[in-house]
C-alpha cells in the first residue's frame, strides 16, 4: 500500500474542512480542471469524427462492411447492435488498434491514416474498455495521471534535467487527475491500488483516465455492463455531465434503457453493416432495427 502523496493528503484535507460556499467554489474549480479551456457547449455542431465507407476484413471475414457515419461535436451518439455486430471493432478502427482495409476515418476533417495509437490519443480520441483494463498495480490517482501525461510538453531531456516546467506540469497533472476523480465520484479511494477498487469504481476510474487525456471524443464501450439500475442512473447522469462539459461522447451499450435515455442519436450495426441511424425514437420504430435487434430477445443486460 503506497502512502498518499502530499498533494493527495492536502486535497483530501481541503475538502473535509470546507463550508458549503467554499465547497461550491471548490467544485467550480474542479469543473474548470475537468474541462480546461473548453467552451461549455451543449449545442450540437459540425462533424467531429467521420467514418467514410470503412471496411475491415480479417482474412475472409468482413468485420465492417462499408460503414459510414459521422459524430457531431457536442452530441452523445449511441452505437447498438447484436453481439458480434462490429461495435467494438468500430471503436478499434477509430482508436488505431486496427487500420481499415479500405475507406478512412477523419477527425476534424484530417485523416487518421497511419497514425500510431498514442498519436491518435493525443489528437483527441480516448476510450474505455468493455473488459476493464486499468493499470492494476497503480493507484487510482496514478492511473489518471498516466492519462494527463499525454498532454505534457516537457521533453525527455527536460524531465531528466528536472526543469521547473517539468515539475509544474507534474503538479498540474496530479491536481487535474484528482479533480477528475472527484468528477466521476471516486476521489475517496484515490490512493488505493486500482485492482483493489470495487467494480463500479473501476468502471468510473476508466472514464476518468480517458477524460484525463483531454479527448475531443470520448468512446465508452459498454460502461453500464454489470451495473444495477441505481448505478445505471448515476452513469447516465455522469455521461450527461461529461457532454455538458463540452465533450463529445460515443456510447456502445447493450442496455436499451441507458441508450434510449441518454443518447441524442443512435447508429445501429448488424453483421458489420450500418442498418439504421437516427434519433432514439426513429431507431426504436425502424422495422429493420426491430427485426435485427429489438426483435431478438435481449441478452439479459436490461
Amino acid at each position: 500500500m503506497s502512502d498518499p502523496t502530499p498533494v493527495e493528503k492536502g486535497l483530501a484535507a481541503e475538502v473535509q474542512g470546507m463550508s458549503e460556499s467554499e465547497l461550491a467554489q471548490h467544485l467550480e474549480e474542479v469543473a474548470e480542471a475537468v474541462a480546461p479551456d473548453r467552451e461549455i457547449q451543449v449545442d450540437v455542431g459540425d462533424t467531429l469524427l467521420e467514418l467514410d465507407d470503412v471496411t475491415l476484413r480479417f482474412g475472409g471475414l468482413v468485420a465492417l462492411d462499408s460503414v459510414s457515419f459521422g459524430i457531431r461535436r457536442g452530441e452523445i451518439l449511441g452505437m447498438i447492435g447484436p453481439n458480434g455486430a462490429g461495435k467494438t471493432t468500430c471503436f478499434n478502427v477509430m482508436t488505431g488498434v486496427y487500420r481499415p482495409s479500405s475507406g478512412e476515418v477523419r477527425l476534424e476533417g484530417r485523416r487518421l491514416g497511419r497514425l500510431k495509437r498514442y498519436q491518435i490519443t493525443r489528437r483527441g480520441i480516448a476510450r474505455t474498455f468493455q473488459n476493464i483494463r486499468l493499470f492494476e498495480e497503480m493507484t487510482a490517482l496514478e492511473n489518471v495521471v498516466v492519462g494527463t501525461d499525454a498532454r505534457h510538453k516537457t521533453s525527455v531531456v527536460g524531465a531528466l534535467a528536472r526543469l521547473p516546467r517539468h515539475w509544474q506540469e507534474e503538479r498540474a497533472g496530479v491536481e487535474r487527475a484528482m479533480a477528475l476523480l472527484e468528477f466521476v465520484g471516486i476521489a475517496d479511494r484515490a490512493a488505493d491500488r486500482a485492482k483493489n477498487l470495487p467494480y463500479g469504481y473501476q468502471r468510473r476510474l476508466e472514464i476518468a483516465r480517458a477524460l484525463a487525456t483531454e479527448p475531443k471524443l470520448l468512446c465508452l464501450d459498454e460502461p453500464a455492463a454489470g451495473f444495477n439500475p441505481a448505478e445505471k442512473d448515476e452513469l447516465m447522469e455522469l455521461i450527461r455531465r461529461i457532454r455538458d462539459d463540452g465533450y463529445t461522447v460515443l456510447l456502445i451499450e447493450h442496455d436499451m434503457r441507458v441508450v434510449m435515455g441518454v443518447t441524442d442519436r443512435i447508429v445501429v450495426l448488424e453483421f458489420g453493416k450500418k442498418i439504421a441511424e437516427g434519433t432514439p425514437a426513429q431507431v426504436r420504430d425502424d422495422p429493420a432495427v426491430i427485426a435485427a435487434y429489438l426483435g431478438v430477445p435481449d441478452d439479459g443486460a436490461a
Binding site: S2, Y118, L134, F135, V145, V146, H152, V156, R209, T213
Partner: protein, 336 residues
C-alpha cells in the same frame, strides 16, 4: 535436511571440500562488507535486466556486453587522462574525484548508447515484424557474442594492464574489520544510483510511462503513452546503470577489463534479478546485495572455487521455495 547435508559434507568434506566455519566467523564482517560492495555492482547491472524484462518480457542477454562497453569506456578515459598501468599515482583528492566522475560519465554514456543501439538494430526490427519471443532471445545471445568477439578482435584475449586510480586504504574499522575507501565509495554511490532509479520509475512521468507499458502495453498506447520511446528510455537507463557499475568494477578489480569480462558478471547480475523477482526494481537491489554477501560467505566457508557454485545454489534454493523470486515479479509494483 539441510543441516544433515551440511554435516555429511563437513564429515567427508576434508577430502575434497573445506568447511571452514572458524574462518567464516573470523572473516564474517570482512565478507559482509566486501559482499555488499560486490552486491551493489550486481544490483546495478541487474536493474538493466529487470527494466528491459519488465517492459518487453525479454531477457537481454547482451546486457553483459553493455557492461563491458562501460568498462572499456572507463578504462580508456583513465588512459586518456594520462594514468599509466603500474603503481598508483599520488594525486590530490579533488582531481581524483573529478577524474572518476568523468570516467563514470563516459562509461554511462557509452553503455547507454550501446544499449540504445542494440535496441534499434537488434530488437526493434523484430518487434516491427511481430517476431516470437524465442527469436528475441536467440538474437540477444547472438548480439552478445557479436559484441564480445568484436572486442576480442580489437583488444585480443589478454586483459588490459591494470590501472589503479585509487589505492585501497582502510578508512575505519568495524569489529576489527578494515573497511576500505573503495568499498565505501562503491557501495554508497551504487545505493544512491539505485535510489535515484527507483524514484525515477516510481514518481516521474517517464517512470509512470514505463510502468504503464510494463503492465499493459496496448492500453498504455491508447492512453497516449509512446511505447517506442518508453522502450528506448528503458534501454538507455539500464545501459547507463551498467556503465556506472562498470566504473565501480574497474575500481575494485582493475585487472578485469577484458573482452569477455562481462560474461560471469552478467550471469550473476541476471541471477540477482531473478533472485529478487525479475521485473521488480527493489527485487534487483535485494537480490544483488544478497547474492554478493552469500557468495562471499560461501567462498570463505568452502573455498574460493566454490564461490560461483554457492551463488547458483542460492538461486535454485530460493526459486524452489518462491518461483517468482523474493519480492515477486512486477515492474508495476515499483512503488511497494
Amino acid at each position: 535436511m539441510t543441516s544433515h547435508l551440511a554435516l555429511t559434507l563437513a564429515q567427508s568434506g576434508s577430502q575434497w571440500i573445506d568447511f571452514n566455519v572458524g574462518l567464516l566467523a573470523e572473516r564474517f564482517w570482512a565478507n559482509t562488507v566486501d559482499g555488499l560492495a560486490y552486491g551493489s555492482i550486481y544490483a546495478l547491472v541487474a536493474l538493466g535486466y529487470t527494466l528491459v524484462y519488465g517492459v518487453l518480457r525479454l531477457i537481454n542477454f547482451a546486457h553483459s556486453e553493455v557492461f563491458v562497453v562501460g568498462a572499456f569506456g572507463a578504462y580508456f578515459t583513465f588512459v586518456g587522462l594520462g594514468y599509466k598501468p603500474g603503481p598508483t599515482l599520488a594525486s590530490g583528492l579533488g582531481p581524483l574525484i573529478a577524474n572518476l566522475v568523468l570516467a563514470g560519465a563516459v562509461a554511462m554514456i557509452a553503455a547507454g548508447l550501446i544499449a540504445l543501439l542494440l535496441e534499434r538494430v537488434a530488437y526493434r526490427p523484430l518487434r516491427r515484424r511481430n517476431a516470437p519471443r524465442l527469436v528475441f532471445l536467440i538474437t540477444a545471445i547472438g548480439a552478445s557474442f557479436a559484441i564480445q568477439q568484436g572486442f576480442y578482435l580489437w583488444r585480443g584475449a589478454n586483459p588490459e594492464p591494470a590501472i589503479r586510480l585509487v589505492r585501497p586504504e582502510a578508512v575505519f574499522d568495524i569489529a576489527g574489520t578494515r573497511i576500505t575507501n573503495i568499498q565505501i565509495v562503491v557501495f554508497v554511490a551504487s545505493v544512491v544510483l539505485l535510489i535515484v532509479a527507483d524514484r525515477f520509475v516510481g514518481q516521474t512521468r517517464l517512470g509512470r510511462g514505463i510502468r504503464a507499458v510494463a503492465q499493459d502495453p496496448d492500453t498504455a498506447a491508447l492512453m497516449g503513452v509512446n511505447k517506442e520511446r518508453v522502450i528506448m528510455l528503458t534501454f538507455v537507463i539500464g545501459g547507463a546503470l551498467a556503465g556506472a557499475a562498470a566504473l565501480f568494477y574497474v575500481m575494485m578489480i582493475p585487472q578485469g577489463v577484458l573482452y569477455n569480462g562481462g560474461f560471469l558478471l552478467g550471469i550473476k547480475a541476471f541471477t540477482a534479478a531473478v533472485l529478487g523477482g525479475i521485473g521488480n526494481l527493489r527485487g534487483a537491489l535485494l537480490g544483488g546485495l544478497l547474492l554478493g554477501v552469500v557468495e562471499n560467505y560461501g567462498q570463505t566457508l568452502f573455498g574460493g572455487e566454490w564461490r560461483d557454485v554457492v551463488a547458483f545454489v542460492l538461486l535454485i534454493g530460493i526459486l524452489m521455495v518462491r518461483p517468482t523470486g523474493i519480492l515477486g515479479e512486477s515492474l508495476g509494483r515499483a512503488r511497494v
